[in-house]
Amino acid sequence: MQYTSPVREPLVLRQMHKNDRKTTMHDITDDICRQVEAAPNMRWMIALGISLVVLAWGSYTLYRTWFFGIGEWGLNKTVGWAWDITNFVWWVGIGHAGTLISAVLLLFRQKWRASINRSAEAMTIFAVLCAGSFILMHMGRPWLAHWALPLPNTYGSLWVNFNSPLVWDVFAISTYLTVSLVFWYMGLIPDLATIRERAKNPISKFVYGLMSFGWDGSTKTWARYEMMSLVLAGVSTPLVLSVHTIVSFDFATSVIPGWHTTIFPPYFVAGAIFSGFAMVLTLMLITRYVFKLEPYITLAHIESMNKIILVTGSIVGVAYITEFFIAWYSGVPYEQYAFINRMFGPYWWAYWAMMSCNVISPQFFWFKSMRTNIYATFALSIVVNIGMWFERFVIIVTSLHRDYLPSSWVMFWPTYVDIGDYLFSFGFFFTCFFLFAKFLPVINMAEVKTILNSSTREAGEEYTKEEHIGETKTATAHLF
């Protein structure tokens, strides 16, 4: 016996331009392969061009960072860790949504993940690479980066210190990057085979043939593939939670007031999912507009993601308040001062930017009209990411800039090299994302095909044409 819930929105919409018939599997193949097969359009080239310009400028400041050293940054004796670590934690946080969507939502059988997981995972990988770039930058001497690995160094058998959260970070980030990359690529193989079979040009036939690993779609392969996806999802779920937990250990295992809190791991993980989903929404709304993916990325998808933003944003809000309460309740004057200083000290603007962007703004998503409004979602997704950047800045800089000795109290201000390095990561991220969106299928065709039958409504089924036209209109509301 099968029961189909009547309230659930369809995940694949019928398409008006195709005479309003039910979307078929062949439509999915056509719609998704089209942008891979077509010549790049002007809009895409302009977008890629802008990313490359930003990347070029960032590469110049990166050259200054590495050639002249991190003295080019705004760091000083009191604040020895600021902009780079803020960006690192911010990017790692953004990198949490992809694997969460592909792993946790797979385990919870959330079928709406099918059309967004591919680009969310790609985003994860690029975001983790950006995070990694800040680790390399702040080393000052990136050519010695392999010293972070457990290799015997030149001077004897002195090993890395496994008691240090920074070494845990090396393992956590590199495992996360590797497993996410493998998960993403394995998901791509069946779709690459589809493109290979459609390819007319011998070069693309060769390249996609090489990349699709000889996939034939046999039942035996699919059965093993499904088992592999399930196990990968099973191990990736604790992995996602562990990565940001370990990132939070970078701070939580220290004895700095404002950092030394046991609430950090869950608080960081919730914040990571929060900012990750916001970034997924920002990119998804642009991709859906540029590649006309409205029938696949529907308002139901956007609404589901907004609900996750609301939940995780509220968890983050509770964490901020708990932190404050614990600082007061601890009776430790240093801890109390750190928090009063955050709120009313010289960085009050950063604190209040964080509070308003992260705690107040997601509360709009209690209203369905806001959750299903594309403009509001797009604006709020950017606001959330600004807020999450300020969260890391507040935690890191305000806890350091007024230490135990008032004579060494200073302010941290970024230099143009700091800002350029941040732009470098943006240039890198968007360049990668645009290349991905052009040359690889942005939606997992095989997975959307599995949900096609259960999730498209038959014509005339308690779903009027007027409703549908209304929905398509909202769905195609132009962003720009």
Binding site: M186, F213, W222, M228, P238
Partner: protein, 177 residues
């Protein structure tokens, strides 16, 4: 790939439900199905075809515990024996501190090992050529291949007839692979 070519009869289906019932009926008649190719994983099709449950999860578990063991041995050797150092007054072999790296290596080696097993067991890898009975099986068709040499009890016409009775959407074609 062996040089000897084999003859297959290729049936193309349009609907998942038709395919699944056809698989049952064709197998009941005693025809051996070589393989079914689908654009997406059809739920439980491997069970309908009578395949054994994959043991990939066990392979993953074995790789994972290998990772756990290696991680514990590595950290214990490096900090406990190779160059013991007092760090923050902790023991040389400080087990709680080894948990994060042990966990990460368990996941890393477990998943990489499983993916490698998956690729090897299916003969997948860069440069491998797929044998496609019908290229539409990566788009919107379900393709069933029946090896004629493996079904000597039936003539080609009989198998064609069985396929036609069970809902193929076009006349089955013979293909040499």
């Amino acid at each position: 790939m062996s040089d000897t070519k084999k003859n297959f009869l290729v049936g193309v289906f349009d609907e998942e439900s038709v395919l699944v019932s056809a698989v049952h009926k064709i197998r009941e008649k005693g025809v051996k199905i070589h393989e079914v190719y689908t654009p997406y994983p059809v739920h439980d099709l491997d069970v309908h075809l009578g395949y054994k449950r994959t043991r990939l999860a066990r392979a993953a578990f074995l790789f994972a515990i290998t990772g756990t063991t290696l991680a514990i041995l590595m950290q214990t050797y490096m900090l406990g024996f190779a160059w013991p150092m007092i760090i923050g007054g902790k023991d040389f072999v400080s087990v709680p501190d080894f948990v994060p790296v042990t966990f990460e290596l368990t996941v890393l080696i477990g998943s990489l090992g499983m993916v490698a097993t998956f690729l090897i067991s299916n003969g997948l890898g860069p440069g491998k050529q797929a044998i496609m009975f019908d290229p539409r099986s990566t788009d919107d068709k379900y393709v069933m291949a029946i090896e004629l040499g493996n079904n000597t009890k039936f003539t080609k016409e009989q198998i064609t007839q069985i396929l036609m009775e069970n809902g193929v959407s076009e006349k089955p074609q013979e293909k040499e692979v």
